[in-house]
Amino acid sequence: MRLTCPHCGERDLREFAYKGDALALSRPEANAELQAWHEYLHIRDNPAGPTRELWYHTPCGSWMVAERDTATHAVHRTMTPAEATK
């Protein structure tokens, strides 16, 4: 698999680390209900299809959001976290 680092361009999978669903970027407010934190930490849509997830380009230290299909492994789009949360 190949992914496109927003800084470095397209690279081999072995340069990246996966960090789970991109909802990790949507950290609840500090005073949010425990249920909100539970969903943030544990509950996953886990689709067999298109998903948004976090990847880390280890050599350059860039975090990114990838739109990827978990059934086909097709990578549709990658972007910086800032672009993803706009």
């Binding site: 698999m1 081999d12 999978l13 960090k19 990790a24 970027l25 930490l41 975090w63």
Partner: protein
């Protein structure tokens, strides 16, 4: 036997090798199989289950029978296809799966028992008496396992791996592949042309076809030369594409030097090929016909027979019969006769077939029995009007073609049935960016393959944004394909499908009878297609037999699929370069050489090496050294290399707020020049890491992590900075490698520093937990007054180029004061005495509450992990929490990993109260000490517990104490 003329062998270059110790001579260009056939040696192996004698049936990597061990010693290669292995002078070839010899194999008795050894028989028996399965039956079954044997010696790890990138990867170099490569290359694309064979040409090297006014091989040679001369083409011979992976990534195995005597060149290279587009031009594989006793040495595929004949100038026999269900049988008879070989008979299953050759011809006939033991002697055919015995020492079988579509299945593509050619073809768009063409797509004429290769390349060029240039393709044979008419011959006797695993049509019928009607069930139950050839020849035929047995059509019954790799890949290829120290990078500190010079055992700490202890003359055990080093630090001064701890430079207007978020404590209030201990949680509320952070300037901090967590913490900080708080203006970079850092600890640590530093160190100027800049011999250094030993301690950091020199200086100065260097064993004892934690305690399941640091969790601000740490289950007082432990008898060591029980209770899971995480002999307190976790621990100070370590047979009493066993008020380190 060798044909007098022709072939792509070099008769000027005889090659001598041995087979089972006997000398054999072939020619340059021969494979082991062709050379043995040239010497009338047909018996090359034994089957897996029944140990039946076998000869080659193919001339390629799909060979199920002729598997041999080549070479000797550590690099002997078992299960090597004799049909692919090129011969070289001095090559040793050994047959397999036979005892005592290939001609006489005692295990062939299995063949006599075959009526009782049907598919899956082992699931139904060997169950009684129960103990016998593991004691008797299974060992016998296991001993019979396998074909070849590993040498048992460590592989010298001489292979290599590499990467290559291209616009277009063409897989296969037959007419379709060559036409495709040429089309793409002329248009300016970067092309890699990979062929499994030793040279481009594919079937053109095996057939007597003409292209324009040239023979097939002449045309192939010309095309190969033309491509090789182009700067944008890389022709990779002896390279099999083994697997297709996502985003245009392909694995390929190149046999770099397996065709020469082992030398300095890597035997193989495992390639990771990255291609924007790819073309599958892998051709097709001829399939067998299941007829009774179709497994004898001398029975070959017709395509292989032509390959041996035309490419290697070898005939498998002097009187060769040909049996087929399509026109290839006729082509084979023609080639045999042209080479001067007697065609014993041409047997065609089609009643309406005609032949004008000068050989006995039997249309509408089938082979129903064969004779011979170690090689074929004759066959019986059933023809209109009766049966007939025919004397023949070889039989070529033309069963039709299966497109070599295997790679299209690697991303879950399911082949589809194409009725007009009675074969499975690749499903459309099975692999994004990969276009099948030629015989791999079911186009079987030479002209069709050329044209299809060009079409595929034009499609790929279009996707790449290149414009194709017109190229000339020669005229070639364009005979329509005659679809094969039959799969099997209905007659009594065993008809083999999977030759190596000895799966017969009867086994498939048995599977159907037992309701293993799904193709997957049938394959798993019978082991059809599980042998080293992965059913390349037989899977489709087996599927057809299952369809027949269950009264379904082939598409109704299912499809066939294949998983990577296309051909088996040595572990030493895909894992090349990783034996021994090659497995992971090594990281060395600047004091490494000085430490090893003092005979310090170096211990792996993640990727780093750290000294365990520094033995001095007369010390016999590590404990003696360790005790001395601990006393040295407690009583005088010790020096230790702490460079492996992670160091992260954090700067910017948002740095303070950033640290407040990632640490449980508050760092925005830390004064410049001061240091604070920090605890970092994961967002799930458990402890991630701990360390100290110094404020070097208004917007400048230096964070220290543990050695193990340096990488993960850096990634975590980047996540917080880029993902959670991009609004904070904070910049991070690791400076771990820039600084060599040494701890100087002990009552005389300040004296040592003052012997080196140009400005005097005073406690007023630099109290505990402060940092400052200084110089040593004109070199600027950073100093941190921190302590992981509980003694007055400083860490002195110097740019790494000065590390070795500073270390030597520090050790020399320490020794002049009566101290010296100490290693991680002493460091561990010192911290256990002080109750300081490491990852033995913060092992990923502990909370700040568990380690008694709940007070460090700020109540006034948010921080990572704060909310989750407040979950009810993470704050219950009954949790296992950190305590100190002291044995009632100081000589007893509560070993880490041992469990704690209430006094008097039996040591069972239900009674477990906690466990020990760290322990040591404390030379300071003259007792063993331990840290551990205990249910409601802090509430049980003074309680006597039972310590049990079943594994090491320890059972004694310990007392619960405060984790800090030495200098509880910390007066020594505060000075």
């Amino acid at each position: 036997m060798r044909i007098a003329t022709g072939g792509l062998i070099d008769r000027e270059k005889p090659i001598r090798f041995t087979f089972d110790g006997k000398p054999v001579t072939g020619f340059a260009g021969d494979t082991v199989a062709s050379a043995l056939l040239a010497n009338d040696i047909l018996l090359m192996g034994r089957s897996f289950k029944y140990h039946r004698p076998r000869g080659p049936v193919t001339a390629g990597s799909d060979e199920p029978n002729a598997l041999v061990t080549v070479g000797e010693g550590a690099e002997a290669r078992p299960n090597t296809r004799a049909t692919c292995q090129e011969i070289y002078d001095g090559l040793t070839v050994t047959s397999q799966n036979r005892w005592p010899s290939l001609r006489f194999d005692a295990m062939a008795v299995n063949d006599l028992l075959s009526p009782f050894l049907a598919a899956g028989f082992y699931y139904k028996t060997f169950m009684w008496p129960r103990a016998f399965w593991e004691k008797l039956y299974e060992p016998i079954i296991r001993r019979a396992a396998g074909l070849g044997a590993l040498s048992g010696q460590p592989d010298p790890d001489r292979s290599e791996k590499a990467f290559a990138h291209c616009d277009l990867l063409v897989i296969g170099a037959g007419p379709a592949g060559l036409a495709a490569a040429l089309t793409a290359a002329e248009a300016g694309a970067d092309v890699i042309l990979a062929t499994e064979d030793t040279r481009p040409g594919g079937r053109l090297l095996s057939e007597t076809v003409t292209l324009g006014d040239q023979t097939g091989r002449e045309w192939a040679d010309r095309m190969a030369a033309r491509l090789a001369a182009m700067g944008n083409v890389r022709v990779m011979a002896r390279t099999t594409v083994t697997g297709v992976y996502d985003s245009g990534t392909y694995g390929a195995l190149e046999r770099v030097a397996e065709h020469v005597m082992p030398g300095e060149a890597p035997p193989t290279c495992f390639w990771r090929l990255v291609a924007r587009q790819a073309i599958l031009a892998t051709g097709a594989l001829e399939r067998p016909i299941a007829f009774p006793m179709n497994d004898r040495p001398g029975i070959l595929s017709a395509a292989a027979t032509r390959t041996y004949l035309n490419r290697y100038a070898v005939s498998p026999g002097a009187r060769v019969a040909v049996f087929g269900n399509n026109d290839d049988a006729h082509r084979t008879a023609t080639d045999l006769a042209a080479a001067g070989v007697t065609v014993a008979a041409l047997i065609d299953t089609r009643e309406d077939a005609t032949s004008d050759g000068a050989w006995p011809f039997y249309p509408g006939a089938e082979v129903i029995e064969t004779q011979g033991r170690l090689r074929l002697e004759g066959l019986t055919i059933r023809k209109p009007g009766g049966t007939l015995r025919i004397g023949a020492d070889a039989l070529a079988v033309a069963g039709g073609w299966n497109p070599a579509l295997h790679l299209t299945c690697h991303m879950n593509g399911r082949p589809v049935w194409q009725e007009d050619i009675a074969a499975f073809v690749p499903t459309a768009n099975a692999i994004p960016g990969l276009t099948p063409c030629g015989a791999a797509l079911g186009t079987f004429s030479t002209a069709g393959c050329l044209e299809d290769g060009r079409r595929a390349a034009e499609a790929a060029l279009d996707a790449l944004g290149h414009s194709p240039k017109p190229i000339d393709l020669p005229d070639a044979e364009d005979t329509p394909y005659s679809p094969p008419a039959t799969w099997a011959v209905t007659a009594p006797g065993r008809a083999w499908l999977d030759l190596q695993n000895d799966v017969t049509t009867k086994d498939v019928h048995l599977a159907a009878r037992e309701n293993f009607r799904s193709v997957e069930h049938m394959k798993r139950y019978t082991t059809q297609g599980m042998a080293t050839d992965q059913g390349k020849g037989s899977n489709v035929t087996a599927l057809a037999i299952l369809a027949d047995a269950t009264g379904r059509t082939i598409p109704e019954t299912g499809t066939t699929t294949f998983r990577p790799p296309y051909v088996p890949v040595p572990i030493s290829s895909m894992g090349a370069g990783h034996a021994g120290k090659g497995f992971a990078p090594e990281r060395f500190t600047t004091s490494h050489e000085a430490s090893t010079a003092r005979a310090a055992p170096m211990i792996e700490a993640g990727l780093w090496y750290r000294p365990s202890y520094f033995p001095v003359h007369g010390e016999k055990t590590w404990r003696e050294s360790c005790d001395r080093e601990v006393r040295m630090v407690r009583e005088c001064v010790g020096v230790s290399d702490v460079s492996t701890l992670g160091k992260i430079d954090i700067q910017g207007p948002g740095a303070a707020e950033f640290l407040d978020l990632v640490y449980t404590g508050t760092f925005s209030t830390l004064k410049e020049g001061r240091i604070r201990y920090g605890l970092m949680l994961r967002e799930d509320g458990h402890v991630m890491d701990d360390g100290t952070t110094a404020r070097l300037g208004p917007q400048h901090y230096l964070m220290t992590t543990t050695t193990a967590a340096a990488g993960p913490v850096m990634a975590h900080l980047e996540f917080v900075a880029q993902g959670l708080r991009p609004d904070l203006d904070v910049k991070l970079t690791s400076v771990t490698d820039h600084w060599a850092q040494f701890a100087v600890a002990g009552p005389r640590a300040r004296d040592l520093l003052n012997s080196l530093l140009e400005e005097e160190v005073t406690d007023d100027a630099v109290p505990f937990m402060s940092c400052w800049l200084a110089t040593v011999s004109g070199v600027p250094v950073r100093l941190y007054r921190i302590s992981f030993s509980g003694e007055r301690g400083y860490e002195i950091a110097v740019p790494a180029r000065y590390g070795a020199a500073l270390w030597r200086l520090l050790v020399a100065q320490a020794e002049s004061l009566g101290g010296g260097a100490y290693g991680i064993e002493a460091l561990n004892v010192l911290r256990i005495e002080k109750g300081f934690i490491t990852h033995a305690e913060i092992h990923g399941r502990t909370t700040a509450y568990d380690i008694g640091m709940q007070a460090m969790m700020s109540k006034t601000k948010d921080f990572i992990g704060k909310a989750a740490a407040a979950r009810p289950g993470l704050t219950e007082s009954t949790r296992e929490r950190l305590v100190g432990l002291r044995p009632r008898d100081p000589a007893n060591m509560p070993l880490p990993g041992g469990f704690l029980f209430t006094k008097g209770e039996t040591p069972s899971r239900a009674n477990a109260q906690g466990y020990v995480t760290s322990a040591c002999w404390s030379p300071t307190l003259e007792t063993h000490l331990a840290l551990g976790f205990l249910a409601s621990g802090p509430e049980r100070m003074g309680e006597t517990l039972r310590f049990t370590d079943h594994l090491r047979n320890r059972d004694f009493e310990v007392t619960v104490t405060d984790p800090v066993a030495f200098d509880q008020d910390g007066g020594r380190m505060r000075g």
